[in-house]
Symmetry: C2
Subunit: 281 residues, 2 copies
């Protein structure tokens, strides 16, 4: 008779930093799917794609965005599910969503081999996005997937600590954020903004944070290519070299570590909160 010691699972997380092109949606979608397939074949269990991975970002009009928007129950996410099924993976990616009522959202989905698990519509729209997308109307979700408890946001959402803290409070072990970070955004102290914010967010709530950014250029606009996977201690497990463009980051993450919020012998990152004393409005 002996005790069986089960080691906690380590999960392989991949960020597929592709380079969509709004001028060529077919190639953008194909590039995302190919990168996803490669990552699953290489053993990744959680695979991220960028924001608006199949459509590109710099639209010129609401009509143009609407023309490439797809329903959550359509072929795009069904294709991601097919790739997920090859390796029992979970896929998180951004897409231009056509809702049943005809509205268009900047959305992200969590998909597994059986299909769509969750859809989130970006709450905080950046710049001209407000000209073609409807802002989301539901909180950012935390979902129990076959590979851990995943919280979901999109790009600019990471600049709202209320949102990311809320995902941690709802039990997220990994906060996943598809992004399209514009190159002209100032990088504080030489560090890409997504790297700074992913590290601080991970540290503050003792969670993993995966940002899947994009490379490439569109219509004169460039992107930072600043994907990053941060650990609960704020360290970067993997980070794209700024400007390096298309690449896939991989990190093996012990997601269970994010459940333990202790800080030293007497403190707890979430348990020490004093909500009755916070100003929230």
């Amino acid at each position: 008779v002996f005790d069986l010691v089960v080691m906690p699972d380590t999960l392989r997380v991949a960020c597929c930093q592709t380079a969509p092109d709004v001028e060529d949606p077919a190639a953008s979608a194909a590039g995302a799917r190919a990168a996803l397939r490669d990552a699953v074949e290489a053993g990744a269990q959680i695979v991220l794609l960028p924001e608006l991975a199949h459509s590109g970002y710099i639209f010129r009009s609401a009509e143009e965005a609407r023309a490439v928007a797809v329903p959550a129950d359509g072929e795009l996410l069904a294709g991601w599910a097919q790739e997920a099924a090859r390796g029992d993976a979970v896929v998180i990616g951004g897409f231009c969503e056509l809702a049943e009522d005809g509205r268009v959202f900047n959305s992200a989905a969590i998909v597994d081999g059986e299909g769509v698990v969750a859809v989130y519509r970006k709450l905080h729209l950046w710049n001209d996005e407000a000209s073609w997308f409807t802002p989301g109307e539901e909180p950012a979700p935390v979902v129990d997937t076959r590979h851990g408890r995943i919280g979901l946001g999109v790009c600019y959402d990471i600049e709202f600590p209320e949102l990311t803290r809320g995902l941690a409070l709802a039990g997220a072990e990994l906060i996943a954020l598809p992004t399209n970070w514009p190159r002209e955004q100032v990088s504080p102290a030489g560090e890409p903004t997504p790297h700074l914010l992913a590290r601080a967010t991970a540290y503050l709530s003792h969670v993993f944070v995966a940002v899947c950014d994009r490379g490439g250029e569109e219509r004169g606009g460039g992107f930072q290519g600043a994907s990053v996977i941060a650990a609960p201690d704020g360290a970067m497990l993997a980070a794209a070299e700024p400007g390096a463009g298309v690449q896939t980051l991989v990190a093996d993450c012990h997601l269970d570590a994010a459940r333990d919020k202790r800080r030293g012998p007497r403190n707890d990152a979430l348990g020490d909160r004093r909500p009755e004393h916070y100003v929230t409005t």
Copy 2:
């Protein structure tokens, strides 16, 4: 007839990174006061001192903390006010507070040349502090001083984005945090934790953040000496070299810049919030 163009004020902020010694409170208090005097003489208008600047940090018992605790209306803060008066400065520093009812708090005060402007009792106690301090019972304050609108926290408080965001929502242009950051705390990715958190906090709420840490050793415990002054864009205006010990950081801060929360032509760091969709408990 002409328009008078008034340039917004630039304020000189100083962090006096002293080295208190819990074994010698008299020397600790004198060291803090001397550093404060030097900073005011050098033209600083906002001067920070560390957490528990006059007493040291590593107590052995509640009795020991109580023995050095002082009332907010006592000689200690009156002395800081005298130094402030020499240069019309505002002083922010941590002290071991003896309350009227006999309880002992880990407090910080804002003092100007006329006396005590505000006292804050640390809400989030770190490690053994809970054995000698009573946790605060009031929100962290934002105070209109003669040199800008200052929000106040102490050390571990910076790890609660609810608190720092709340200070920004209440209009803080500068968030001031006296700290005693233990050396053994892990530094994410090689960067001192206070530097990471000050930069991210400043960027997220578009405020200035000044952390006044301490150097020196006490009873076998060391401190990071990781003072930092961060700008609203997340850049470090001044930062102590880790391990360098006693020094005073200075940065000229255009505090008015923190009032403008715009991010690009269509976004606003606070105005874009969607409070009805955040999970807060």
